[in-house]
Every structure is written in C-alpha cells, then in structure tokens.
Symmetry: C2
Subunit: 171 residues, 2 copies
DNA sequence: CCAAACTTTCAGTAATTTCTGAAAATTCAG
DNA sequence: CTGAATTTTCAGAAATTACTGAAAGTTTGG
C-alpha cells in the first residue's frame, strides 16, 4: 500500500463507517470521529480532527463530548501542553461491552419500564382486546428482560471465557 | 382497567414504542404502526390505521410497505372484500429472528464487506499507521464475523432449544 | 368495457436533526 | 492580575428525513 493508497483507504473507511453509524441510530459525524480515533496511533487534538474531517469547531466539540459520554474515547493531556487530546479505546471486546452497557442504560431500560407498566395492568376479562394487550406486552417484557440479563452477563465476562464458548456452541 | 383506561394505555404504549424505535434507527411512524398491529386482535385495513394514528394515506402506505419488506407484517385479504388488511407477526421469538436476519442482511453484511476489504490490504511495514490500520480493521472484522455467525445460528434455532440454554448459562 | 373501490406515487411542505462560526467562558503561564 | 491559548455554548443556517394530499394507476364486479 503506497502512502497515497493508504490515505484513500483510510478516508474511505472513515466515510463508510459514518454511513453505517446512521443506520444504527448514531450520527454520522460521531461515528466518523470514532473511526478516525480508532485508526490513530497517537491521541489527536480537536484542530487535527476538525481539519481531517472538515468539520467546524462546534461540531467537533459536541460530538467529542458525546463520545466521551459513551465511554468510547477519553481525554488525554500532556504536562506542559494546554491542548486536550483524545484517544479511542481500541480493544474491540471492550468497545462492545461499553456500547452494550450504554445502550442498555439508555434504551433497553426505558423500554422495559414501558413494557412492565403496560403488562401489569389488570385486564377486563370480558374484552379480548384488553386481554391481548396485557398478554402481548407481557410476552415482550419477558423477552426483553431475558435478553437484557444475558447481555448483561456476557458484557461483564472475560472475552476469553465467553467468546470461545459461544463460538463452540453456535458455529 | 376500564375501557377509557385501556384506550389511554394503548395510545401511550403506541406513542412510546414509536419514540423507542427512533433510537434504534427505525422511523417513528413505522414503529407505531407495528405496535398498533401487534396489539390488534384482528387484521386492520389502511383507513383504520390512518384514523387511529392520525396519519396520511401516503404515509401509511409507504410505512406499511416497508414493514411488509421487513417481514414484520403481512397482507391479508378476505374473499369478497377488495380491501387489504394487515396483520403483525405476534410471536416475540419469531419477531426477533426476523429482525435479526434483516438487520444482518442490510447492515452487518455491508459493514463486513468494508472491514474485510480494509483489513486485507498489505501494509507497508515501515509505516506504523498503516500497520495499525490493517490490524485494527482486522480485529473489527474478526469480531463482527464471529458475532454474525452466532446471531445466525441463534436466529435459526428453536426458541425452546436456545433460550433456556442461554438463560441457564448466563443468568 | 366501465366505473367504483382501492392502492400507489410523488412533488411540494413540514419537522427534525445536524452543523457552523462567532462570541462568551475558562484556564493558566508569566 | 493579564492576556493568549483553548474550550464551550448557542442562535441561526443547512441538510436530512418524514409527511401530506391530490392525482395517477390498478383491480375487479357487473
């Protein structure tokens, strides 16, 4: 790979990673910054990110803040340098666990609350619609609860313990 | 639950299910129609859906088409009635498998292609950035590949075989 | 065929989300 | 303190996504 090819490949990767992000409910720029930092060997400062991705300071700042909030990147400072640098978690299993835990907190938890609340209503037995409402939401609730539990356990386990096991069982 | 309470509970559920959909990259109306049909005992026609959710014909039509495309609902017709009705798959495990397979096809597959393509480049060993690019995308690729394989197997298994097993192992 | 019943399309509009850039706030070396 | 370096905020603009409604298309009973 020549230096030119590499630049292209990297830019292409970052661009497409952004597109993929969108379809998973993550904004494009955030996914791109994440990709850029994953691929960077050293921590990068805001200006570098702005230049590289051609985005404004405000945009960079707010997406960096969000990424820190997700726990996917961290702030790095060097003594004698006032700038802040950012560094991505690079281990894929750790990344997966971080994302799993955050999505759980932000999205699965609220869903469960809604489901539990709906399914715990006492149906009027004369009304088949009411009975169906309660049983359908109960089934959903049970399923999400189980999935949540499993994801929980998996994402708190050692990669070396879980993955080989799952692979053996399911591949 | 009085009839009034029920109406409220149902409307509330549909509304919130829509909001939840958004954070998973599914448009609000589509999620709401899906919720409405999941809760309906009988198949429903387009006009009923339009009225119930206060949406236009065009909106209803295109989201219904998409839901059929996802395999989450199906068209139903009755002899001697020209209208089309729609019915949601109600079994939660089946729903899960359908969604898993579709997301795999639409989103995991393209991601994998990008990752494989990136990670198979031959790095110039003099350049640490290039080496990192290749190894990082390779690690991502391997992970997604494994996850994909597992999801594949799980979503093709009998609920009764997989779930109890996972629950036992992970809860 | 015809016409009524029903479905699909799509140009224009509305709503939502994301982004910019300049100003305000903060930090810190001297 | 002071002021230069840096980060944060946020009002308005741009871009994206979703929705409406009327017109065009399709199907089918008579």
């Amino acid at each position: 790979m020549t230096s030119e090819d590499f630049k292209k490949a990297k830019a292409e990767f970052i661009a497409q990673w952004g597109t993929l992000g969108s379809s998973w409910g993550i904004n494009r720029t955030m996914a791109q910054i994440h990709a850029f930092l994953m691929l960077a060997v050293e921590p990068r400062d805001t200006n570098t990110i702005m230049d590289e991705l051609k985005i404004s300071r405000g945009n960079a700042n707010s997406n960096l803040r969000d990424l820190v909030g997700w726990g996917l990147i961290r702030r790095v400072t060097y003594p004698g340098d006032r700038k802040e640098y950012f560094e991505a978690e690079k281990d894929v299993w750790t990344m997966f666990c971080t994302i799993a835990r955050e999505r759980k907190r932000r999205e699965i938890e609220p869903a469960l609350q809604l489901l539990r609340n709906s399914s715990s209503r006492s149906a009027n037995n004369r009304d088949p619609e009411q009975k169906h409402f309660v049983s359908q939401t109960a089934a959903l609730s049970e399923f999400v609860e189980t999935a949540d539990l499993i994801l929980n356990k998996v994402s708190r386990s050692e990669k070396s313990k879980v993955l080989p096991f799952l692979v053996k069982r399911f591949s």
